[in-house]
Amino acid sequence: MKPKLKLPDELGHYGIYGGRYVSETLMPALLDLERAYLEIKDDPKFKEEVNYYLREYAGRPTPLYFAERMTNELGGAKIYLKREDLAHTGAHKINNTIGQALLASRMGKRRIIAETGAGQHGVATATVAALLKMECEIFMGLEDTKRQALNVVRMKLLGAKLREVALGTQTLKDAMNEAMRDWITNVRTTFYIIGSVAGPHPYPMMVRDFQSVIGEESKRQIIEKERRLPDLLIACVGGGSNAMGLFYPFLEHESVKMLGVEAAGLGLETGEHAATLYAGRPGVLHGSKTYLLQNEDGQVKGTHSIAPGLDYPGVGPEHSYLKDSGRVSYTTVTDKDALEGFKFLSEKEGIIPALESAHAVAYTTRVAPTMPKDSIIIICLSGRGDKDIQVVAKALGMGV
């Protein structure tokens, strides 16, 4: 089926996916948020304000870098890296938090909360909270606070209060449950900055719109450099915000193929993975209908990935829609291969990627050699790898 481009519909649906599956206490807040967002999203003043901070504060536009050594090494398609790792705070997450925090400000909310897995969204939220003098609390699974200790310190330095979540799987899923519970309790005063294209409407739409700057810049930059559109876009998918941001502005160009890379963890056959679109089926979690890793009785499964940002049993509803429509393909990469991708990019290009982004790099090393030399791939290098050094050192037996 040919995918629709103008989504979601007025109830926040992407085909059968998306929507607003939340308790009544939150419904009025979501309707308010949607109204406020639709009112100002095309307001030239608001856009200028967002663009000002993206440019002067976050350092946009980020480069579209021709990875010549990687290209030569693989001997196939020309590979470009969209350098979101060079954005302020070291990942694409800042694009979204600037937009949402400015919206929160306009709505008169002075307290913001956020969930985080890898800590990148937590850091990006704490950063804008400091910038805009807002009170900020970040929910993070206990397991993640251990493996991303560097980001925990960064958030604290930025003045955010860290709420460690010792419930359930102690990772991103339970961090989001706790953030939702806080929001239900403090909904009148608090703005919840969701960090991915997940959650109830309008979040998947809003986060996609704020992240679309990745794809819009990439399009402009590739046409400048190559005078044509790319053949293939590759991005990692946990919740899927960096992928959605890169893909969305290209959806209308049918010649551009797109590939989302999920975490196969210890291997799909082991059950220890986070490959939602690959191994899940439609369900409802955290406010939207989407592919979900669940058991036969509808209970959400625990997940595993070496990359905390991908370690999540759900996925943005628009990705579910794009998968079913066939417009975007989704594939998987194991922890082990992601580590190879991590090393490869570090050694060949002098760029240490986040473990999440290393999944996209790893898949590229497989697919690029099979493509002709005049074809073009853009990888979204969604974040930098400083936060992962300890985990990688341990996995590679290097010791820190």
Partner: protein, 268 residues
């Protein structure tokens, strides 16, 4: 007419607000759940909300979260919950509402659930994370099966939403007493009275109040302006504490519930 409707009619005659008690099926065990429900009924509970446990209960505080975890560890499934209801129906006609989060129902199949639930003797369904906007598909099947689909309202609900929920709801309307998750609270917000009045302008359905109710004093005050008093976490705490000791558990439940039940009689 459903057992729920009949129960409210019967209680109106008696001048009593319905005492609705929540417990999670399978906590402390699947075998114990029917016996606890008989004890609740014997002690004065009027309607049972039987919780279907979910791995990610986003609107619940720690007490019910832990109850869900225990129930899942005990192997509680949707099918298992329906089996419990079938068993209870051999001994009791107390109205039972299946209470939970959407995904387990969705996974079981909305039509299949509605039919099986009706056959088991369930009277109504309340899905915490299913607002009326998303409920059309489920409602087709619950209507067909003759099950009530109960919706929530909250202190944050606007007049527009009160109208919407009133139009779609059946059985009764569950008014959440606080902006927050489930759990006991020392203080209640009695300005709810005006909210109940506003809801009643839009519907003839009974209105029940839950979240945070744990004492006879709170129950008595609510009974004066609402049609049902809903108690959850406070009961779960007793089950949590005495779970493995049947005799003590039943004694505690009996004392706690009969105190609340007496408080539900108006002007008593």
């Amino acid at each position: 007419m459903t057992r729920i409707h009949n129960k409210f009619e019967e209680l109106k005659e008696k001048g009593k607000a319905a005492l609705v008690t929540y417990l999670t099926a399978g906590d402390p065990s699947l075998e114990a759940t029917p016996d606890i429900i008989y004890k609740l009924e014997e002690s004065g509970a009027d309607i049972i909300e039987l919780g279907v446990p979910f791995s990610d209960p986003m609107a619940d505080g720690p007490t019910i979260q832990l109850a869900s975890e225990r129930a899942l560890k005990n192997g509680t499934t949707v099918k298992g919950v329906l089996d419990i209801v079938s068993k209870i129906r051999k001994h009791s006609e107390i109205p039972i509402i299946s209470f939970g989060y959407y995904n387990p129902f969705l996974s079981y199949g909305l039509r299949r659930f509605s039919e099986d639930a009706r056959n088991a003797g369930v009277d109504g369904v309340l899905v915490v994370d299913l607002p009326p906007e998303e409920a059309d598909e489920f409602k087709i099947h619950t209507d067909k099966a003759g099950l009530d689909l109960v919706f929530l309202l909250a202190p944050t609900s606007t007049s527009e939403r009160i109208r919407l929920v009133s139009e779609r709801a059946s059985g009764f309307i569950y008014l959440v007493s606080v902006t927050g998750v489930t759990g006991e609270r020392p203080a209640m917000d009695y300005s709810l009275e005006s909210l109940v009045r506003e809801i009643k302008n839009h519907t003839r359905l009974p209105v029940g109040i839950g979240f945070g109710v744990s004492t006879p004093d709170q129950a008595a005050r609510i009974a004066n302006f609402a049609d049902a008093v809903i108690v959850g976490s406070a009961l779960i705490r007793i089950i949590e504490k005495y779970g493995n000791n049947g005799k003590e558990l039943f004694k505690e439940i009996s004392g706690f519930i009969s105190g609340l039940s007496k408080a539900c009689y108006r002007d008593s």
